[in-house]
Each structure stands twice: as C-alpha cells, then as structure tokens.
C-alpha cells in the first residue's frame, strides 16, 4: 500500500501501516542526531519544542546561516542503529510517532513501537540531493551550538519514498532479512568446503 501522510500524525494513522508499505510525507518533521539525543537523554535537557505525534529524521545537514536564516545546502539521512539506545525513550517519553532513518533499529525500539504506536521509516540512504529538493524550508533551528547536530524543524513536501520497515505490530524487515541471511550463510559456507 502507498500512503500520503501529514506530519504530525495520529496514533490511528500509524497503526494502519504495515511493513512493506510505502509512505510520502507532507508537513513538519524534526531533525535530530547523536549529539541532539545525548543532550536530551544523557544531559537531561527536554527538547525545546514538543515532539508529540511528530516524525523525526536522523540527520546532520549541510546548511548555512545567512542573514539570520538557515539555508539548506544538502540534507541527508544517517545510520539509525547507532542511536538505538535513545529511540525507545523518544517514543515512550516524548510521544514520537515515527523515526526516519537508514539501517534500522533493534528489538528495544520495535517493542516500544508496538506498545506506544510508532513506526520506523527507511529512506534511501545517500540519496541526499533528492531528499534536499523535497525539503521546502528549514523553519526553525534549536541548539545551534551542536551544529551540524542541532534540532531542526523542516517543512517537507512529497518526502519519500519511505519504506515502512518496522511497524507497530512487532514486525521488522531488518529482523527478517538478517535471520534469512544467517540461515543462508550456513548453506553458503558448506558450499565452500
């Protein structure tokens, strides 16, 4: 199924999504990364804007501040797996409904997605030029001292394709692909011998 959603999203909309679905987003999404989440969770500083029902993007953009406004240069997506430690808390404590990234998240996040109603959306990693053209504007930037790992508010149009790879029903494409690969590995290694 293909969906067009407007961020922020409701729990109901998120619960409808199943792994393998494709999503295009409109509206506002929030950019965060390693350092942003170290500040929130390790230093205990609440985010300067509400994240409730928002979809967040794992990013550290190429951007430039000109005359008080931030101008986009190239905005892409980073590997999420590094930030697994923070992700269940982001969902539970701050009500985040979706995380856009690449490489996937692990069991702890999948459990939180099921309990609280959230999804993981895979973007095509490295396709940053395209991604940048789908970001209409950098609306707000908080925690500029963390540049490029600030907290960014983007307005997006037809942002995607995003593949639902972890849903709120306990399913993960990454888990399936990895367990299949491990099973095949045994077969392949036998073939070598």
């Amino acid at each position: 199924m293909e969906y067009r959603l407007e961020s922020p999203v409701s729990e109901h909309e998120v619960r409808r999504l199943r792994i393998g679905d494709v999503v295009y987003l409109n509206g506002r999404i929030i950019g965060i990364r390693d350092a942003t989440q170290r500040r929130i969770f390790d230093e205990g500083v609440d985010p300067p804007v509400s994240l409730e029902n928002y979809i967040v993007l794992h990013t550290a953009p190429n951007a430039k501040k000109e005359g008080g406004r931030w101008k986009k240069i190239c905005i892409g997506t980073t590997t999420s797996t590094r930030m697994e430690r923070y992700s269940p808390l982001l969902i539970e404590r701050y009500g985040v409904r979706g995380i856009i990234g690449k490489g996937g998240l692990l069991k702890g996040s999948l459990d939180a997605m099921k309990r609280f109603g959230a999804v993981y959306l895979s973007i095509v990693g490295g396709a940053a030029a395209l991604e940048t053209t789908q970001i209409e504007e950098i609306e707000e930037v908080y925690w500029e001292d963390l540049f490029p790992e600030c907290l960014w508010v983007f307005r997006v149009r037809d942002f995607g394709p995003l593949i639902v790879s972890m849903d709120s029903h306990g399913n993960s494409i990454y888990e399936k692909v990895t367990s299949n690969a491990r099973a095949k590995l045994a077969e392949i290694l036998q073939g070598f011998a």
């Binding site: 393998g20 550290a60 190429n62 797996t81 996937g104 490295g126 030029a129 053209t133 290694l189």
Partner: protein
Amino acid sequence: MEKLYRLIEDACKKLYVKALKEVPRDVQRALERAYEDEESEIGRMVLGTILKNIEVAKENDMIVCQDTGTPVYLVELSGEVSLNLKKVYEAVYRGTSKATREFDLRPNMLHPLTRELRGDNVGRRVPDVHFEFQDDAEWLVRITCVPKGSGSENQSFLRMLTPAEGVSGVKRFILESIVEGASKACPPVIVGVGIGGTFDECAWLAKKAATMRRIDIPNPDESLQRFEDELLNAINKTGIGPMGLGGKCTALAVNVEIADTHISQLPVGINLQCWKGQRSCACISEEFEVEYLA
C-alpha cells in the same frame, strides 16, 4: 618545483568536491545493471531512487550524499619526480580546508573524546594521506581522493586469523562480517578486503580495495580474481539487498588486495564502501598539466 606543490593543492581542493558531486562512471554502470537485475520490488524502488538521486545532484550541481566524509588521499609518485613529502602533505591539507570553506561542505572532523569540532575538515592527522610509488608511470604525480562516509566506515572489521584457519577461515570471516554490517553501510556496497601484512597494513589494503580501485577492471592476478568472483557470488546470495531491505544485489563488487605476511600470521581486514563509491582522481604530467579522470 614550487609550482608543483601549488598544483597539488589546487587538485586536492577540486578532487574533494568532485568526488562528492559525481559518481564514478564504473560505479554508475554497476548501479544501472543492478537495477535491471534486481528482483525484489522494494529493492528496485531503492535502486531507482538511487539513480534518480544521481540525476538530481547533477541537474542542481549538488553533492550526491550529505556525508562529506573523512578526507582520505592517496598520493602516488613516479620514479621521475623528487618532492618534499612534508610540503606535499601541507598542500593536501590546505586544499582540503579550502574546499570545505569555499563550498560550505559539512564539517565532520572533531576531537575523538571531547567531540570538539574544528570546522574545516582538517586537523590532527587529518586529512589521511597515504604515499605510494610507481615505476614506469605516464604521470609524475597521481592523486586519488576519497571522502569516506561514516555509515560505511563504521562497518569495518579486522581479525588476526591463525594460519590454521586458512583460506576457508578468511572466507567465513568475510561473509560473517557482511551479514553483520552490510545493511548499515548503504548497500549495494563495494567490499574491500585486505589480506596479509600487519594489523595496520591489512586495514589500509582493505580501504584501498574498497574505495580506490575501479570496479570494472578485473584483478590482474587470476587466482585473486576467482576468489573475488566467488565471494561476490556468495555475498549476493545472502538476500540482504539494496539498503538492507531484502533483494538480490547486496554488493556491486569485491576487491581484494594482498601483502606478504609473517609465518605465524593471517590478518584480514574488511572495509565497505557505500553504493556511491565516491572517488576522484587526477594525474599531473611532466609538463605540469593536470588531467581529471571520470
């Protein structure tokens, strides 16, 4: 000779930006083939988006991926040139810093513990510059630039195997590493393998194999070429697929580089390069002309 250092500085500046904006021709062709061959629906969507992105970057004169990488350079010198390597290093350093500032490239390089950012992608032991030497070259100096993205660099593996583990142990380690790491490295990846040498030498060989070799030229060593083909075939049976979402094409190529090693050692290093295969190269001729390769 002073002119040559200036040419090197200028070339390094251009190469850094060129590597970020363009996809090498051999890699582009391999991606197009992967798109045609891919059987998974999601895999085809991913590869189609990758190809579209390369076009969008070209049309808008943008960098292809946001990760401006760790600047890594290979400077090769022919037997016909004598240069002060300290001055060459300084030229590469200045070129990298200028490219970062003039083109507003994202600053990535920071102190590993304090996480303090310097801002122009140079610093303590950065850029990473390797020197190698070649006889009978048609150029005086050849420079290859690889801005190495962290997504793929974080999926690097090194193990000091025992000689008893042998060739089958090497293959097992490579495949286990792929199953562990490839999905996080923006596949389809280029797999670089360094075998032999020392702890550090096999890591460098893996990096060189993953990032600096063209993927459309077979390994001149036939037995290594067979080894590469066998591994590529095996990796593409794992089903990890484009962006790790399942499919046929997990790797575009496997490149292996070897060095002789100690009788009681069998080091193996694995370095992955993302689908973009970012790499740019320039040759400086005897007449001091700079030629940029596609």
